[in-house]
Amino acid sequence: MKTSHRKKIKLALRYIAVVALTILFLFPIYWLFMISFKTANEIYAYPPVWWPETLQLSNYRVLFEDGDAATVGNSLIVAGVSTIFAMILGTICAYSLARFKTGGEHLANWIISQRMIPPIAIVFPVFLLYVWFGMVDTYFGLILLYTAFNLPYVIWMMRGYIMDIPISLEQAALVDGYTRWQVVWKVVFPMCRAGLFATAIFTFVFAWNDFIFALVLTRTDVATYTVQVTHYFGGQSNFWGKISAMSVLGTLPIFFIVAFMQKYLVRGISLGAVKG
């Protein structure tokens, strides 16, 4: 009797802890969403309004009417396209490093070291370079930069996943009559599929969340949503309604991506990708 009683208390405490932690983590997101649906009065009300009287969409309407919402589209384009480029190029490089020992033992270390440079240290030289080549405020400029910036990460991660694939799987395919490119397509990709997705998601999120490059290298044409949000912090007042609505728009794509790819994300991160 006594032990079962104790077990019940333990279980109850565990549930309480879980609920408390969940609230702690979800509250900021809840608050962000709520603000975006509030009127200005409700935002500044004291005591705070936990649930707005009507879920009014005027904050969002303004964003779409003014065309500000298009910056989310810009973010999608530059983050999406640069992720695709970085994944294709990076995986090919990673395969070469892993299987042909390209550049010897140390090239891979050098490549990942490139990722450790703080963006702020290079953003102004890059800006001058972009001015020179006329690439400021273009999709091409941002995509190129994000691709370059994420390549080291992709190469490093994919190299690890590829080295985990038993080499005899590739050799068996080579002997069976496949070319090296076919082997990469038919053996390497399926074998590290979870790793590919996990790496792609992180790459996308890096580009999606970037602020500093986008701030310096864009004006109006391809400004991303992170840059757009800062426009609502004014000298006179802060437009909390627009800030929160824009932030919600910026959160949703990541939310859906992670929700759909959760399976691969977990497997990829835990490096269980290649266990048959």
């Binding site: 050799q171 002997v175 070319t179 048959g276």
Partner: protein, 362 residues
């Protein structure tokens, strides 16, 4: 024309000289076993034949065509890997069909061939399963199926049975040998296991330290080893090597009062070694109880038994001859009672004599 011809092949890994000038000719349809200890270069040699390793010197010819610079996919070779190398994301059917698809085989033909190969290997009921749902023995059968489903010129096996337990290994040995007889293909099989080599091979190529030590039929190597290494490698328990001196008609065993009579027909061969050191090689099965093997070609010894290891059908008896430990294989009924001293006779017609300096047989 030989199916496979290797001429003075060398392979280096950095400063490591893995294969040191191998010459080998393998005729069509033969089952050749490359055997040797780990690190002797046998797997490297096999992988150069497959084209998975480039060679540094020499040449490899298949059906008269030099294939040194031919990519693996164009060599028309099938290979079974030690760790099976099956694709976990494909069904057994797709795994077996993988090589056929590379060659753009029509779908109907693929189905026929996979069905036939899987029937030969009794895995036709597993075709819809995934590798993770199979046992070790079944995985090995699928791996073999993937090789034999294709009409390759040469079939290579890289220690395919080393991941299986002893009982399955015995079973698969017979299975592979049967496949060879049914298909009549040129097969090259790498193993470190001398029993696999002895039981399966038409011809054994014994490698040591990157070179061929000796090649020939299993019984040829067993009965007439060229060197001490070959004599010691083949046979289980391995051959006993006894240090002795050649005197007139006898070999006296060092540090003992034992001696072995040299049979008439061998005497000529040993004249040049008179009064010199020699190593006598005696296989465990060439010992027997003195009272049952009493013939002039037998030499008698009285030994102190240190250990008896019965296996059921045979018993292994350990004793010393001079300073050398020795093992005799006797019938269980030869060891009645707890006798610690026993009279053994040695079949001197089967004994080999080794020059201790060159380690070559005389």
């Amino acid at each position: 024309m030989a199916d496979l011809k290797i001429n003075s092949l060398h392979k280096y890994y950095g400063s490591m000289h893995a294969v040191k000038g191998v010459d080998l000719e393998i005729p069509k349809g033969e089952f050749t076993v490359l055997v040797g200890q780990s690190g002797c270069g046998k797997s490297t040699l096999l992988r150069t034949i497959a084209g998975l390793e480039e060679i540094d010197e020499g040449s490899i010819e298949i059906d008269g065509e030099v294939v040194n610079d031919v990519a693996p996919k164009d060599r028309d070779i099938a290979m079974v890997f030690q760790n099976y190398a099956l694709y976990p994301y494909m069904t057994v059917f797709d795994n077996i069909a993988f090589g056929l698809r590379a060659r753009k085989t029509p779908k109907v033909e693929i189905e026929e061939k996979v069905a036939e190969a899987s029937r030969m290997l009794s895995i036709d009921h597993l075709l819809e399963r995934y590798p993770r749902q199979l046992s070790g023995g079944q995985l090995q059968r699928v791996a073999i199926g993937r090789a034999i489903v294709r009409q390759a010129r040469i079939y290579l096996f890289d220690e395919p049975l080393s991941n299986l337990d002893a009982q399955l290994r015995d079973e698969m040995r017979g299975e592979i040998k049967r496949l060879h007889r049914e298909l009549g293909k040129t097969m090259i099989y790498v193993t470190h296991d001398q029993i696999e080599a002895m039981t399966m091979a038409d011809r054994i190529v014994l490698l040591r330290d990157g070179k061929i030590e000796q090649q020939g039929s299993p019984l040829d190597l067993y009965e007439r080893p060229a060197t001490k290494y070959v004599a010691g490698f083949l046979g289980s328990p391995s051959m006993n090597f006894i240090d002795g001196m050649v005197t007139e008609n006898k070999v006296t065993i060092n540090n003992s009062n034992h001696s072995l009579d040299i049979p008439e027909q061998i005497k000529n061969k040993l004249t040049s070694h008179a009064n010199k050191a020699i190593i006598v090689g005696i296989r465990p099965e060439h010992f027997s109880r003195a009272d049952i093997a009493n013939h002039q070609q037998y030499s008698k010894l009285s030994v102190n038994i240190e250990l008896v290891q019965p296996t059921g059908s045979r018993s292994y008896v350990t004793f010393r001859l001079g300073q050398n430990p020795a093992v005799a294989e006797l019938r269980p009924q030869d060891l009645l009672g707890h006798n610690t001293t026993i009279e053994l006779s040695v079949d001197m017609s089967r004994v080999i004599y080794i020059d201790p300096i060159t380690e070559m047989t005389i």
